[in-house]
Symmetry: D2
Subunit: 388 residues, 4 copies
């Protein structure tokens, strides 16, 4: 197919040429006397992405979901209890991971399309009078449904409950795209991967840990090796890594940090908000509805769209892919076939997204959804137009 | 600015990643025993792009406009007379080049927005009963006005006049995008550059010469050095070049030939035709008119659009560039300020062009042209939709 | 510094331009209908690198050392006993990893510079009459000392002992460089990383598992998540991965497999053997000795060289790095300061290695080791000369 | 073949990864309002490479040899007389180019292996009492024989003769490698290409013109188009180019200027001098002799080596290429078969050159030249060793 493929899934996101260039470098000796300066360039700037000023940030050669494991095995002892709302596929998988690692997870079921409910969390913590619950697992931005939770509310609920549990936040599809206030929200462990807001290929997992979380690391008895923060901290302190670092991705990360921090995290969040407004206007113009049940929880990094009864969302996606060279995200698990998703995070701008919406329009029409060509794009442009 | 820049000028065109990779290679010895196989890979396939089966094709480290000079100095003696219709900036520059080289050019003035007029050429050649005119200079696709000439008609006119002049065709913005029938149209010298249909950076000029044109080379008395086809032919015959070839661009050209010939030149032309239909539908939906005065001469590789009275097209272009990160072509010379141009040639597809049209819509509205957002995109999508 | 850096550590190894190009690609949807063909291209060819015809091969976004963990947690129940010879830093770390994961490891201490001793392993297994030992951990090529073990001998010892333990082989610095006979040697789990013989950046871990090893996966009770082969197998069977795959590295791996299999694994091993002969001849010409205590165990992928008493090997390495732009490997742990290492694995040829030896000669002389400039290079060239 | 190819011809030279990355960029609109800043970045810094403070520098999409033509047709009227020493293939070709362009060239024949003779030039100019001679054509560094001329001496001779001829200097294999003092030497037109000291692929020609040369441009009557400095100057003054610039190469040039000027031109020249000393020591150690007849004219950018009677230098080159993956330069014209050449200019360092000398040693021995392996490398290392 001629021309550029439109990669509009919620990750991996398009890698900007600048980052591709940064990664196209020859390897070097990761034990050389010159290497620590590079390590520090990354580790000193990474926390700024989430407004973290205390604790530490870590980078692993792994995916974002590996960081679920890294966060838990370093801070929670074997068999401990955890609390987690489930409201989409990624909150489900976070819970599954914890269970696979031998933890007991108390699940708060919320409808898919809803966000985590802070009141439910508060109630559960209040009920845990003996403080058995070691941690709360929260997916900030549920990539399956396009829903963003209010982490500050959850923290407030925990505080109201006077509960000492750690707050674990999955920021895979939010960090480096949406506003993320690590310190202000009292997050203890936040995790993400390289292939979303960082605009890189997958292969790096990032873990941000608070001082409170770090204080648990040395005494934590969970067996662990690859994800052991003790080895990581010892090595990082000298400017090195415990095993051979994934250099090409780190070269990319170093440059991605420059791009993000030069733009400014507030500007990055504002850009995502503006782009998302246009996409939501398009959905409305098509006469469709979002999977997110309320406007105030609609995600700025992706939009999950419900297709009309009788239409299979997978048909829309396959038509889009094969006829119009655009990749859309599919509905997962409970919403499979009912939902398709448009990623609008990372290195994205209005014209690319306009092209993507155009592709969605043709695919919808081809699949039998009676929309008017140009209607969604026009509505989005009205949001995106810059009036001097 | 975040996201991908939209490069919608009629050249350079976007370089596909595949060609970028092909050019990202270490250099080699261009005099080695292994090199001739590479030279032949290029020179044997290049003629297929223009459906040339006789004569030879040449590649110079130069731009397309240098090929005007290469074509003339090898085949036309000093001071000779040439005939050329002028109907846009590039036909004007072709004429100027010939004059700068010391040739006398009889100019047939046509309105900008019109194509070359075969009847006028026929009349001029009929009037030249002593056959003083050595060549007819024709720009196939006038990049300034978005007009495509009918080369077959011009050849027919020359034949009707029984005139022996060589037919020189500038195919800079047509070759490798639009249908080009070197043999069937009786072209003697066709020229182009690497930065349009070949989807490469500028830096290579290509010259296609008929047997009739080649027969003039050895006896042509015009002083020449860099563009001398004698040295080029001698070296090419052995698989080499007279001076150090522009290897990175040649690596790209080799791969571009694979891309083009794998797609098939008929498919390439059909793809451009389809994309152009959408753009013209958008122009119509906006209530604007094209610079091309008649539908049958409207170019499939770019569209020049006339802005309403009282609007400066340069404002549209500058707004598009600075606010929406899209580069549009400006009006040149006679049509400066009156016209802007959308390139839709090369590695292009419907969604990218939809994004571009979206950018144009916002820029037009910002500049004071009262169009309806989404109207042009919607009209284009109706053309581009693939109905199974 | 001008010119090319010489990266002569035993990993990461130089990434060939061809692989850099393969990795310089835009991302794609790893859940698309087109993706399984790519997954299968890798997974179907990867086993050929180790001459594996039964069982399965896996690729994780992780480093090679993570695969130690992946191999153990999927096949060995918590707290089980393992047996491992220790004869260098990497066999030490393999043991440490197992202990960190909660296993009990019986260690057979061997002198650094020696290989694993099959007789000692046999004796230990014979003594384990109740078959408490679940696995033997063997580092095929001890990267710290430049020593290669004979895996076939170890397997023969296990067979003589009639012991059912699994054979875990670390092939980090041998697989894809040295001969590795997965089937013939009766290996149960072999592991490696992308940054050595595969000539890629670090970031991918590969695990090769026998049918016997795979039979343990489902019933293994060790808690695990990221490295759980159950999820990997389910997804791989459909052509997908459980979490977002490290696409850029996988693109590189796909191309690396083509390079390796086109060269042929026997030719790859022979090339490494030939290059190693030259390096060893240079060491001899310098009047120095190798860390490997016997010629028959000297590694073909790297050479560890003992510096004379009174010289600090770290000085040689630092001089080489800062004055001559060449990275050498340092001595680790027990041999720190006594040994430096030259990597000669991966995308390497005689002239590059000659340049590297030249750099070593200057650094040695600068550091006070009285060698004759050119002596080592000359001796190596005598090995590398191709006589028709 | 595995490993890195050794490109040791005197151009194209190896392109450093940093420049490859700089060229791996998407295209842009060369008529945009943002473009002039880029043009100026190049044109303002280019003169510094040759220590030029007056006059102007130009960049053409062309090869270095095209610049011979560009220099002449803009400053010398048709049919005028020129004076040129001939002492190698490139001085021969410069003369041929001038003759092909219709100029009369008085040739001063010097033995190949000698430099231009200032006394002979002085005598010829003295004899031209009516100042018919319009220019002196001088190749600074004769790439065919590895000989560097003393331009200052030639300028002094011209001054002593009180002759107003322009001084045209070919600096193709010297500029950006060897010391080049445009102002101090009173050069009027200096020319070069991108594929030597600038470390880029071929495809850009550079022309440096003095005020005296520029003063001739407007009145010069030689017909010209592509190389016309009038159009170039008009466009450059606005930050643009008359035709589509070769953007990828210009992106590379911009970065190459940063590399060169950051290193400092004096340091660049000193580095080449140091590397050349080592190569000459190797030649001596092999018992061979250089084509350059005297040490004081031996080039620092390449070394031409005479093979013993009875040996065909082409055999050495072909063996080196096919067996050892190293490209050497061949003898040209008069010295074909008698000479092979080692390029040591551009992005080069001692270890790479040591590897290259190692390759030459094996090829020489294979071809029947009785040298001692390691002897040349050892002698070179003695020159290159850095003693603190």
């Amino acid at each position: 197919m001629a021309g550029r493929h439109f990669l509009q899934i919620p990750g991996p996101t398009p890698v900007p040429d600048r980052l591709q260039r940064a990664m196209h470098r020859q390897m070097e000796d990761h034990r050389s006397s010159a290497f620590p300066a590079f390590t520090r360039s990354i580790l000193s700037r990474l926390p700024q992405v989430v407004h973290q000023t205390k604790g530490e940030a870590f980078v692993f050669p792994a995916t974002g979901s590996a960081m679920w494991e890294a966060a838990l095995v370093n801070t929670v002892n074997p068999g401990a209890r955890l609390l987690a709302p489930r409201f989409g596929q990624f909150s489900h998988l976070f819970i599954q991971t914890a269970r696979n690692l031998g933890y007991q997870v108390d699940v708060l079921e919320e409808p898919w399309g809803e966000a985590a409910n802070a009141a439910h969390i508060e109630a559960a913590l209040m009920a845990d009078t003996t403080h058995q619950i070691q941690g709360v697992l929260l997916v900030h931005n549920e990539t399956a449904t396009g829903v963003t939770c209010n982490v500050a509310d959850v923290r407030a609920a925990m505080d109201r409950a006077g509960h000492p549990a750690l707050l674990f936040v999955d920021g895979v599809s939010s960090i480096a795209s949406l506003d993320f206030q690590f310190d202000a929200w009292g997050v203890d462990c936040a995790i993400t991967g390289s292939q979303k807001g960082f605009m890189l290929p997958a292969g790096l997992g990032m873990l941000f840990a608070s001082e409170k979380a770090l204080a648990r690391v040395d005494s934590c008895t969970t067996p662990r090796a690859y994800f052991d923060l003790r080895a990581m901290r010892t090595n990082n302190a000298q400017g090195y890594f415990p095993s051979t670092p994934a250099l090409s991705l780190l070269y990319g990360l170093d440059e991605a940090l420059t791009m993000l921090l030069d733009e400014g995290m507030d500007n990055v969040a504002a850009r995502h908000k503006r782009l998302a407004r246009g996409v939501r206007a398009a959905v409305k113009a098509w006469g469709l509805r979002e999977c997110a049940k309320r406007p105030e929880i609609a995600s700025d990094s992706l939009t999950a769209i419900v297709v009309p009864e009788g239409i299979d969302a997978r048909t829309v996606i396959e038509i889009a892919f094969t006829r119009y060279d655009i990749a859309l995200g599919s509905g997962l698990s409970e919403v499979a076939g009912k939902v398709f998703r448009i990623g609008h995070l990372g290195d994205m701008n209005a014209l690319t997204l306009a092209g993507a919406l155009a592709g969605v329009e043709m695919a919808l029409l081809d699949a039998g959804v009676p929309i008017t060509l140009g209607s969604g794009v026009g509505a989005a442009l009205a949001e995106w137009r810059v009036q001097a």
